[in-house]
């Protein structure tokens, strides 16, 4: 129980503490505080996940905090992927400071906002209060807007402005969905102090007014879908993710988008109980396939490495939404698994692109060339990550994409899946072009050979190792969390996956 309190308190305390470091002359205090904050966050989040595995769920602060298996998946993602990106950020930001790309003040603010950003995401995924969920998601926009605009260039300020305006407006629509759901629950329960809690609404969801839930879920998908980067509300995403410093891009892309998706899922659960699965699934299926389709063409056309990766995030968020839209135990399992594998792969690639950026000072695939000679370790890891992201075995994303295809065939939506696979192939070719141009070829003239810092390479390697591990075998604790989560989404205690081969080389218990 205490771990959850510490988990929610630490990032905010550390974040605020940074504001007192602005007058320091050296960066070492900031780094020390940053490392402490990350370490505590990792330990607390792992302990919270362990407690959920042991007890089923954690409910505290008078029901305001509610961590079930579904939340625990996302707490784990923030803890592991976020911490690794934070560790990567040490070398990256120190180099940027040393080379004068940012001043000391911005450097300190960057760390302050990064930790506040972690804190707001943790509140968003652990709170049980539906309005606080909205508040926390809005807070993630506010805390990360500074990270996007930190360099103060014309382009980064533009990206920050678009980000804050589009996301604030989008998420405001989400508030309408939230209010409709709350007032609906209040009319059913006649107890406003309880109707605010998701877990209580979930218990009574079958009695909610279906007409209002139709409306509420549409608002939710548009509102929080903006934050997930679903087409056509995605326009902020390529700008924000490409202009932020690479470690911040990694957190935005690999962690933040998932948090918004969790909120959509929470309302999916309520709506499905009130009006049946057909309507919410149809909405997610259409938004998902559209996002995947449109972004795959943008991926081909882009020649900016980070923008390519950003469009890839839209594609994969679409794919996750598509998997939830296919429905059934397999679809839900596949969607959740893909959330995890995409998170790891995307964090890997944004960190690797950070090493490229520090070395070449360019993100253009026509300029960056011959990485295998210039920085062999980063080159190999970057190539491995890009192939993993494209869904090549034996990495985790192959397994989750395989499961999505199985879900589609089981649901009888084979044509939808075929379209989806065509889009994925287009996206893979976009990644392959990037690899051929950047990794192979003659080294760019005037760029000295030399690897990125050891720490940064180690972090990227660790991401690839995790992806590989999931690709080979999904460990029992993870598989248990995922299966429990599927049960929560479908409202069943015992989930049966039937006889279909869900994963290519593993059967689930």
């Amino acid at each position: 129980m205490e771990w959850i309190n510490a988990l929610l308190a630490v990032p905010f305390i550390v974040g605020v503490a940074f504001f007192f470091l602005t007058h320091m002359k050296t960066a070492s205090f900031s780094t020390a505080l940053h490392v402490t904050g990350l370490g505590l966050m990792l330990i607390c989040s792992l302990n919270v996940v362990a407690a959920v595995l042991e007890n089923g769920r954690i409910e505290t602060w008078n029901h305001w905090i509610y961590v079930d298996s579904l939340s625990a998946v996302f707490v784990g993602l923030i803890g592991i992927v976020g911490t690794l990106a934070g560790v990567y950020s040490i070398g990256y930001m120190n180099t940027e400071l040393k080379e004068g790309h940012i001043d000391y003040r911005s450097y300190v603010y960057y760390h302050a906002f990064l930790h506040l950003f972690f804190g707001s995401m943790l509140v968003a995924v652990t709170t049980n209060n539906v309005i606080l969920m909205w508040v926390a998601i809005e807070l993630t926009t506010l805390t990360s807007a500074f990270l996007v605009g930190i360099y103060g260039h014309r382009t980064s300020l533009e990206a920050a402005w678009k980000y804050i305006i589009i996301c604030s407006v989008g998420v405001a629509f989400g508030l309408y969905g939230t209010i409709l759901t709350f007032s609906n629950a209040n009319a059913v329960l006649h107890d406003s102090s309880q109707a605010i809690f998701w877990s209580v609404i979930n218990g009574q969801a079958a009695n909610l007014n279906p007409h209002l839930m139709y409306l509420a879920f549409a608002f939710i998908v548009v509102g929080f879908g903006t934050k997930c980067g679903l087409f056509p509300m995605h326009t902020w995403l390529p700008d924000a993710h490409s202009e932020a410093p690479s470690p911040a891009s990694a957190v935005l892309s690999a962690v933040l988008l998932n948090c918004a998706m969790l909120i959509v899922l929470r309302y999916f659960i309520l709506t499905a109980k009130a009006v049946g699965f057909d309507y919410p699934q149809a909405l997610l299926l259409v938004f998902g396939l559209l996002s995947t389709g449109v972004s795959s063409f943008f991926i081909i056309m882009q020649h900016d490495i980070k923008r390519k990766l950003a469009y890839h995030s839209i594609e994969n968020m679409g794919l996750i939404s598509f998997a939830f839209g296919l429905g059934g135990p397999i679809g839900m399992f596949a969607g959740l698994l893909h959330t995890i594998t995409h998170s790891l792969a995307k964090a890997l690639l944004f960190c690797a692109s950070g090493n490229i950026l520090l070395k070449y000072r360019s993100r253009d695939i026509y300029y960056v060339s011959g990485m295998w000679k210039v920085m062999p370790w980063t080159a190999v890891l970057f190539a491995g990550g890009a192939l993993a992201l494209g869904g090549v075995p034996p990495f985790g994303m192959f397994v989750s994409e395989f499961a999505i295809v199985v879900a589609g065939i089981t649901a009888g939506k084979t044509w939808w899946v075929i379209f989806c696979l065509i889009f994925l192939t287009i996206a893979l070719s976009g990644l392959t072009i990037m690899l051929l141009k950047t990794v192979l070829g003659k080294p760019t003239e005037g760029v000295e050979a030399g690897e990125g810092s050891r720490l940064s390479v180690a972090v990227i390697a660790l991401y690839l190792l995790l992806l590989f591990a999931i690709g080979i075998y999904i460990a029992d604790p993870l598989s248990q969390l995922l299966q429990n989560s599927v049960g929560i989404i479908l409202g069943q205690d015992n989930v049966s996956f039937g006889d279909m081969l869900l994963l290519p080389w593993q059967t689930l218990q």
């Binding site: 309005i131 807070l139 014309r154 007032s183």
Partner: protein
């Protein structure tokens, strides 16, 4: 009852004034006036709905929306020269746009069955219209500072919806939303100033480097 609908109508008029005002300073003052109308509306709604929480809301809304946010906005624009921004859409067009929004929202709220007394539905349709007027402001205005006002208007609209449909929510929730709004305005104001110092303009149409 009459009072509530009159105040709701006044809310629409003041928001049109906020959008149409020539300078951000004038908009800030008009926004303060509008927030005062909102506070009065909260007080009357508290009586009508017998919701004591709304008295608290009116106090916190007075502090944050009538005093704090306008003060932040006036402070934020003191170094900005707005004369360089080319004129946006002619303000006259706001009349048909606002009318269309109000009519559509009235029809929409009437069509939906809501857990709300029938005679308060006009107020709810105003809150929704208000939200969409804020969105109109963001979409039509080229002046970035004006877009911040658009956000504030949207926020006032959703605050009224909240007061009508979720007035029994715990006080802490309302404080959370209000704090979010203040931080949003502060961060947007800082960003506008940073953009102005770097690009020497407040014109949102100049922000076109990132495409595709």
């Amino acid at each position: 009852m009459l009072m509530i609908n009159t105040l709701a109508g006044l809310l629409i008029l003041t928001s049109l004034a906020v959008i149409a005002a020539k300078t951000a300073k004038k908009s800030s003052a008009l926004y303060a006036v509008q927030s005062l109308v909102l506070v009065a509306l909260f007080v009357f709604l508290a009586q009508e709905l017998n919701a004591h929480e709304l008295y608290m809301w009116s106090v916190s809304a007075f502090v944050t929306k009538v005093l704090l946010v306008p003060a932040i906005l006036i402070f934020a624009v003191r170094k900005l020269d707005e004369s360089t921004v080319p004129a946006s859409m002619n303000a006259a067009w706001l009349i048909p746009i606002a009318t269309a929004i109000v009519v559509v929202c009235y029809m929409a709220t009437n069509a939906v069955q809501l857990p709300l007394a029938e005679h308060l539905k006009p107020a709810l349709s105003v809150s929704l219209s208000h939200f969409l007027l804020g969105l109109t402001c963001i979409v039509t205005q080229r002046n970035m500072m004006k877009q911040v006002f658009g956000y504030c208007l949207m926020e006032n609209g959703s605050h009224l919806t909240l007061a009508l449909l979720a007035n029994k929510a715990p006080e802490l929730v309302e404080i959370g939303i209000a704090t979010d709004a203040i931080f949003a305005v502060m961060i947007m104001a800082v960003l506008v100033n940073k953009i102005y110092r770097t690009l020497h303009t407040l014109d949102a149409k100049q922000l076109t480097e990132l495409r595709g």
